[in-house]
């Protein structure tokens, strides 16, 4: 029996690393393959799809920017994503402040209602969003997307920001009250500055959502001038019908912002995801 133990240990260790390697390959290889092929010519991609580019070329990127009107799409997405984050954080930090630090009637109810929004499948709201946006004259404008994205992220942001604000010691506010701070100053001078980390976490989730969102952008805009980057790379595929590597270059460019944000703020994302798990 004991003679088997070292052998079993070796088998388990190998299995363990094979599993980790497999899921790493699933997560990364398609994206690395995309990146690698975006530096090849179409001919090279078809002849040797798996090899690294022999003579990396930036031509695909030049073509993608010229053909797909990429700068315009990028600008639209940047405007929408940053505005949605700003609006979402503004309204959610105000609400979270009173939800986390004031006692009032129906507080539990309001908090539960707002965070329960997470359980609603947003795609079931395609008809009402379309009708609402059309009726208010916001159809085919970036403002519609800003409002929708800011609103859809309310449940996540309220949850993250109010649990962060709830962890700030009461004494700090009491000291501020003695110093003559009113209701508004307690928020602007004490709680808000101390909640920066929670705001960054909520803002990161909101940014990545807004940058990547596709369905509502498709539903609520129609003209090229209000297209976001996601719609752009989706609809301009027809232009790339024979130019796969050009399409790859456009896709790579569309991924860069959200991956860059993740590279810098991944610890915020992970702490945000685990905020609920610890309570279990």
């Amino acid at each position: 029996m004991d003679a088997l133990k070292p052998a079993l240990h070796v088998v388990l260790t190998i299995t363990k690393w094979l599993l980790l390697a497999f899921f790493l390959a699933v997560a990364l290889l398609p994206l690395l393959w995309l990146l690698s092929n975006s530096f090849k010519t179409n001919l090279e991609m078809q002849v040797s799809p798996f090899a690294l580019p022999k003579a990396p070329t930036l031509e695909n990127y030049v073509n993608a920017v010229a053909m797909a009107d990429l700068p315009r799409l990028f600008l639209n997405s940047v405007v929408v994503a940053f505005s949605a984050v700003a609006l979402n954080l503004a309204v959610c930090s105000l609400a979270s402040f009173v939800l986390a630090r004031e006692i009032f009637k129906r507080r539990e109810f309001v908090f539960t209602m707002l965070t329960a929004g997470i359980l609603v499948p947003i795609i079931s709201f395609m008809v009402p969003y379309f009708v609402l946006v059309t009726a208010t004259g916001l159809y085919d404008g970036l403002l519609a997307l800003v409002l929708v994205y800011a609103a859809i992220n309310i449940p996540v942001s309220i949850f993250l920001i109010s649990s962060f604000m709830g962890s700030i010691p009461k004494e700090l506010e009491e000291a501020a009250i003695i110093d003559g701070c009113g209701f508004v100053q307690r928020f602007t001078k004490v709680v808000l500055p101390l909640s920066r980390s929670g705001l960054v976490t909520a803002g990161t989730f909101c940014f990545i959502y807004a940058w990547n969102e596709f369905v509502m952008a498709m539903l609520l805009t129609s003209s090229v001038s209000s297209r976001t980057i996601q719609l752009g790379i989706r609809f301009f595929t027809s232009q790339f019908v024979t130019d796969y590597t050009g399409m790859f270059a456009a896709i790579v460019l569309s991924i860069v912002p959200s991956v860059a944000v993740y590279a810098f703020l991944h610890d915020k994302i992970i702490s945000g995801l685990t905020a609920g798990a610890v309570k279990g």
Partner: protein, 294 residues
Amino acid sequence: MRGHAKNKPVMIAIFLAPVLVLFCAFFLYPLVFTAWTSLLRWKGLGATSFYGLTNYIKLLSDPTFQLSIRNNALWALAQGFVQVPLATLVALILVRKPRGWQLLRTLYYLPNVVSGVALAMVWVVMYNPQYGAINALIKLAGGTAHNWLGDPSTALVAVMAQAVLYIGYFMIIILAAAMNIPLELYEAAEMDGATALQQDFSITLPMIRATLVTSATLAMAFGMRHFEASFLMTGGGPAYATSTMGITLFLKMDALRYGEASAAGMLLIGFGTVVIVLLRRVFGRNDPMSEQAS
């Protein structure tokens, strides 16, 4: 003390107002609107009339919508009973903090921050029958190429496979719960001579049961509302093989059948709620709201 006792309720109302306005406009109003219009005969711009449950009856007796419901149920099962167990397996490995575990955790989640549009386009090319990577690997292994997304009998599995293997989201949640278990429990087991595998089964898994149930519930709720990857990779085809309730909703709306689209929306919400309530009944009280999705 600038007499804030008097105007405090007013201030609280002012601070809550902006969120409540947005929440009413984009959560409560859509819910009421969808419930109401699902009972109407309403085709786009024209006049509406009360239609009772006709939209629901039409949808539920439509074979393509039945297929959509079945596909969403299969998505729910795949996410709850394949994706979450795989995520648990990886979390059990990473909780022992092997070399590079933090980097691995970060990289496993990376696809979750990449847009669905980009991932769908990459996977469509990966599955391409002529120069896709998957068929190249199969040919390398001596098999024959197959049009995975074009064949109705393989399309659903192909779309599901790439989604279910992205384990990052649930792995991070489960790993966090496992790391929260007091170390003393393991030290005691170690002294009793329990192997790592025995510790996983007798300590870790029972201790994170609540998180596992919550994760499986969330995963199944996500499966019941699955839309984007199928819509982008196959548009619900071929021959509705990958259709989901969300895709039916979109197609009905596109055909200006707003009443039926709303009924599809209500059924989408209804099935998702049933899954959550049912699982909570079966597995006990675990609050899915204590986790948040992204």
